[in-house]
């Protein structure tokens, strides 16, 4: 369909709205002046200062460990949950189960966070690294479940049946056929889980305890005191990591897509 000048204008405005604040943030992280509105020349001093800020670095390290751990557990549980949603159409409590998968996606974080905290206190677990990891696993697994589920819905069941038919037992079939084919979705799920964990402030604030301050908690406590170029620098690095990750992921998908199209072209000719 033709996309007129009107469409282009709207899209340009919307994307400008989405990107300008982030771009400004990145630019001002290189500002030599401490004042936000004054451009004092290019400088990387805030990055150096950030690097030597032990509190910030500790928080970053905690965040990465929580992220990797919770994303990994969340991906395993989420993939199992997706299999349950797609493959087990009837079992007692299925409604409850799918409810527990969908609800955390929209549940206000303050509720999820508060309720988890009260659970940890009620059973007497000391809050810290592990409670944050459990909390993050709980909500990220639901996102993973949704991502993997959408792949499983379009999965051709006859591939599994063919494996069974050729003598491959069910568990082996899952690892030899199903898992390799849904792997891109599982990896995407992991990446999403990791970013969500990296990003979370509210749930972590409730679930954490002494010694387990995550980066968003740290940033939040400093942001409340006002805009600082040091935080701009930390944010820029976070944005950079995520952007590079997403770009790599999309290049890989593009190449796969290209390969597939080439294959099909090849096949059409070979026929």
């Amino acid at each position: 369909m033709k996309s007129g000048r009107f469409d282009t204008t709207i899209l340009t405005l919307c994307f400008a709205f989405l990107y300008i604040p982030i771009i400004i943030l990145v630019i001002y992280s290189f500002n030599a002046s401490k004042l936000v509105t004054v451009w004092g020349g290019f400088s990387t001093q805030w990055y150096r200062q950030m690097w030597s800020n032990e509190g910030l670095m500790d928080a970053a390290w905690v965040t990465i460990r929580v992220g990797i751990l919770s994303a990994s557990i969340g991906t395993v549980l989420g993939t199992l949950a997706a299999l349950t949603l797609v493959r087990f159409t009837r079992f007692p409590g299925r409604m409850l189960f799918s409810g527990m998968i969908y609800a955390p996606l929209v549940m206000p974080e303050v509720i999820t966070g508060l309720s988890l905290l009260l659970l940890f206190v009620a059973v007497g677990i000391d809050r810290g690294f592990w409670t944050v990891t459990i909390a993050h696993t709980t909500f990220t697994m639901c996102y993973v479940a949704i991502v993997v589920q959408s792949r499983l819905i379009t999965f051709d069941r006859s591939l599994e049946e063919a494996a069974l038919d050729l003598g491959c037992p069910p568990v082996k079939t899952f690892f030899k056929i199903t898992l390799p084919l849904i792997l891109p979705a599982v990896i995407a799920g992991w990446m999403l889980a990791f970013t969500l964990s990296l990003d979370d402030l509210v749930i972590a604030s409730f679930a954490t305890g002494p010694g387990a301050t995550t980066l968003p908690i740290k940033i939040y406590s400093q942001v409340r005191l006002g805009v600082t170029p040091e935080i701009n620098a930390a944010c820029t690095i976070l944005i950079g990591i995520v952007t590079i990750g997403v770009i790599i992921a999309s290049v890989v998908t593009k190449r796969q897509e290209y390969q597939r199209q080439r294959d099909e072209h090849f096949a059409a000719k070979g026929a």
Binding site: L164, D165, G167, L181, A271
Partner: protein, 385 residues
Amino acid sequence: MAKSLGPVKRKFTPWTDPAAQPFIRFENITKRFGTFVAVDNLTLDIYEKEFFSLLGPSGCGKTTLMRMLAGFEEPTEGRILLQGKDISGVPPYRRPTNMMFQSYALFPHMTVEKNIAFGLEQDKLPKGEIDTRVQEMLKLVKLEQFAKRKPSQLSGGQRQRVALARSLAKRPKVLLLDEPLGALDRKLREETQFELMDIQHTLGLTFLIVTHDQEEAMTVSDRIAVMDKGIIMQVATPAEIYEAPNSRYVADFIGDINILDGKVVSTTAAGGQAGTVRLDCGGLAVAVDQECAAVVGNDVAFAIRPEKVRISLDKPADDSVNAAYGEVWDIGYLGDFSLFLVKTQDGRVLRAAQANVARLVDRPITFGDMVWLSWSADAGLVLTR
């Protein structure tokens, strides 16, 4: 691609031999999905080395029946015997049957070779033997030079061959084919049909094919089971199914046919003996020579294939043949023959086909002509159900 002619086929009719043991027996099989009855108390015998077709419209239960044999579904009632042994409860990965899927179900992340080797690897065969068998299979389906390709790099026809090779690699006792040629275009389909027959004959396997394509079933099968709503309407050879359908459903499902409602006026075909049955089909008197259990006054149907109806401008000389008079209402020119739709005086439309034996652009019979349709007493059929 040059079509190789296999060995000359012999007459093969184990089902007429009362001593023959069935290779596969479906015994009073019922399959329900919730309240829906997919297969209804069905009993069927299939013999060794037979090429057997399950034919019917979608939803008639043919695929369910096949999937029960493969082990993907368990019968709700009844049992399935393979070489006399009950295979209920045996999971699909331990059954000596292999299936070629409608979608082919080729593993997209494996090469052609790996796909074909997959089943053999599950049996933990030595590597050397797997390689030999894969090569053998590639040769059989003429894909030697495509061994290292991925399924996405193959054309539809090539994928179909890989699927066939993969399902044959384990030398199953029974090969199940679910609409095997459905995705191919017409010309390739016809070619492949003959290849399938050759392979079946060469390897001496039992083939069970599920299809909704009557031509395919007619071409490849030793016997066909025509199914409708979970029951078998008729099991017979392709010729019997076409020439002697046992019901309106089968007659109508296979090929083109005229069916007229009628009443038995008189019959000499009593007690399963051949004789002449005279019918009154709403004013049109018809005589049919056949075995028939119908008695005088029964409501029956008269069926006749269009190619068995002669069409002429003159009244047939012989008074003993059946005849109807009418106007040519429409003509379908199909190249090898023409189909005439003739409206008789009582307003019925009968179809007559005429082979176009001479090379003519203007045919002697055209729209609006008054014509005579005629057929002999052994051309049509009385259908009692």
